[in-house]
């Protein structure tokens, strides 16, 4: 008999395995999030929001009250909820398309106002659910369905530094960090600190999580790992970028 995989207590067990593709990073990020929620013992206070794209597959993943919407509008839904019921702990989970492209104005607005919510952006360098198109986070030269010859920075820009941008515009009290599914303990720690920041009422929190999409990357396990650890790491530095009460930290822990 195989041992049952250890699932966070805040996960629903009745509908597992989850709906993500094999090798997808979402399951790992959401496991870290589940662990963070468990360790902080906040399951009865959390409302979890997920977005359109692959993140929506988590609409029934947790034993948490959940709302699913789209286009990065999970951020204003959670903002509206938090403003209406400040005792709730509101988490907005989305991909880099929702967070950094179509819904980026909401991320900017929420960060500027230091909304006491936690946003988690899964960065897998492309739009996955729709079939692998170029995103703001696509690496130079990376091939996607809408840049089949590789992203040309001269024509379509450089990978979007979302966490750094939010860190630059958010007032003191905000917490910003970038973790990765290649360093799960660190990622869980960042998520815990982001949630703690909301619990303590300091302000906004954003955790970007570097994620993997072997389906659209068309990579095997070894190349997937290498893409996260080498290719993505070259543009997206892991670490805490903004911590309440401290000057902007230098990224890369």
């Amino acid at each position: 008999m195989q041992p049952a995989p250890a699932m966070p207590k805040s996960w629903r067990v009745d509908n597992k395995p989850h709906k993500f593709c094999p090798g997808c990073g979402h399951g790992l990020i959401l496991k870290c999030l589940g662990q963070a929620i468990d360790e902080l013992e906040i399951q009865s206070r959390v409302v979890y929001g997920c977005d359109i794209g692959c993140s929506l597959l988590s609409w029934d993943l947790f034993n948490l009250d959940t709302v699913q919407t789209h286009h990065g509008r999970t951020t204003p839904v959670m903002t509206g909820m938090k403003r209406a019921r400040p005792e709730l702990l509101c988490i907005a989970y989305m991909g880099d398309g929702g967070g950094y492209s179509i819904g980026v104005q909401h991320l900017v607005g929420a960060a500027m106002r230091n909304e006491k919510i936690t946003v988690i952006v899964a960065n897998n360098t492309q739009y996955a659910m729709t079939g692998g198109q170029m995103a703001p986070t696509t690496l130079p030269g990376q091939k996607t369905e809408t840049c089949p010859y590789g992203r040309d920075p001269g024509a379509t820009g450089l990978p979007f530094q979302g966490a750094e941008m939010i860190s630059a515009i958010a007032p003191d009290g905000a917490y910003v960090a970038r973790g990765s599914i290649s360093h799960l303990t660190q990622l869980t720690g960042f998520l815990k600190k982001a949630l703690k920041n909301q619990i303590d009422g300091h302000g906004f929190s954003l955790v970007e999580a570097l994620s993997a999409c072997p389906t659209n990357w068309r990579t095997d396990a070894a190349r997937t790992w290498e893409f996260i650890e080498k290719d993505m790491a070259g543009y997206f530095k892991r670490g805490e970028i903004k911590i309440p009460g401290q000057k902007e930290a230098t990224a890369n822990a």
Partner: protein
């Protein structure tokens, strides 16, 4: 410390936007999310001045998408939340309000129509009828009250909150720039003192207890995997909507029996119709007036009755046939002639209507 809200019944002289802010207070609204666009701005201005006094909240968001989605979040958290918009803001508002339709959220949205399409004028129109009744990528599962003045704005804003929380369909109060900006007298009152019970909001999320242990998690989605799964959900909403349609549809009619011609209009244009009908009848012309108050659902049986016994109707609106399209659908197959007076984006006075009626009856 916040004061207790006491609204003594009294005559006041206010702009329509101020009326809406007071009506929202009277209805027990907790929080408004808004974004500036003329001509609804003063709803936010008055609300943001009044709200803190009574322990209520306001948030100016980064755009109308955010205002609409935050309103959705607010109602899901179990608070009476509302927003107000107009014109191109109304266009953006369709995305969150489509979500409100899908999730059966009791959002209240006040729309003060301005000229369209696009930026157009900040002044007035009746061009947001199609958008407000049928906007979004859905089936228009929404309730829309079209007001004809300040007493209506007060009464129907209060009613909108109650109806939204009772039936859980997104509800709209459709005004216009004239109503928003002009002052006129009306009576404000505490609805409970008039025997109107204000419904208590009920949270969708964040109830007592730990999900999975003390209760099942409350999980709301907009996404469906299968055609049949979506079809089942939609048909259930459509059946609910159709069931309440007769009950909630409202209209006003004047002298429609034995009329040779009935002038049909909604909103503020009906005030010119009232005047025109009076003047024409004094001149011996057999003319009546009919006003749908709910544009969604339309008072379809009454429209049916009207057109079945009638030779001519004249549809008058400050748009190019938006209410006329809805009427024609309700009147389909009737033998009566449908005449029109369409002035998109422009106000309509009684004299023009009288001239048009005389031309038709010549």
């Amino acid at each position: 410390m916040s004061e207790e809200l006491v609204i003594e019944e009294k005559r006041v002289f206010m702009t329509g936007n101020e009326v809406v802010a007071w009506a929202a207070l009277a209805a027990g609204a907790d929080i408004m999310y808004g974004y500036p666009i003329t001509p609804q701005n003063e709803i936010m201005h008055y609300w943001s001045r009044l709200a803190p006094r009574y322990g209520k909240d306001f948030l100016q968001t980064e755009d109308e998408l955010s205002a609409g989605f935050a309103t959705a979040g607010g109602v899901m958290a179990g608070r009476k939340a509302f927003t107000a918009t107009a014109g191109s803001g109304s266009v953006l508002m369709q995305e969150p309000l489509a979500m409100a339709e899908m999730m059966r959220l009791p959002t209240v949205t006040v729309v003060q129509q301005r000229g369209g399409p696009s930026t157009a004028t900040v002044i007035y129109s009746q061009q947001e009828v199609t958008l407000t009744t049928m906007g979004g990528n859905g089936e228009g599962m929404r309730v829309v009250y079209s007001t004809a003045g300040h007493q209506d704005l007060y009464d129907y804003t209060i009613k909108a909150f109650n109806l939204a929380w009772k039936y859980r369909f997104p509800t709209f109060v459709l005004g216009d720039g004239y109503q928003a900006k002009m002052r006129e007298p009306l009576t404000i009152y505490d609805p409970e003192k008039r025997g109107i019970t204000l419904l208590e909001p009920d949270p969708y999320v964040g109830r007592e207890g730990e999900p999975g242990r003390d209760r099942p998690p409350a999980q709301y989605r907009n996404t469906y995997n299968l055609e049949e799964e979506l079809y089942e959900k939609l048909m259930s909403d459509i059946r609910d909507f159709e069931k309440i349609s007769t009950e909630i549809a409202e209209y006003e009619s004047m002298h429609t029996e034995e009329a040779e011609l009935v002038i049909v209009a909604h909103g503020i244009v009906f005030r010119a119709v009232r005047e025109a009908v009076g003047n024409l009848r004094e001149q011996g012309l057999r003319v009546g007036g009919f006003r749908p108050v709910t544009l969604r659902p339309l008072p379809a049986p009454q429209i049916r009755d009207l057109v079945d016994g009638l030779k001519k109707i004249l549809v008058v609106e400050s748009a190019y046939g938006q209410i006329a399209r809805l009427l024609k659908e309700a009147a389909y197959g009737a033998a009566c002639e449908i005449h029109t007076l369409f002035k998109p984006g422009v106000g309509i006075a009684a004299g023009e209507i009288e001239d048009r009626v005389k031309e038709i009856l010549k």
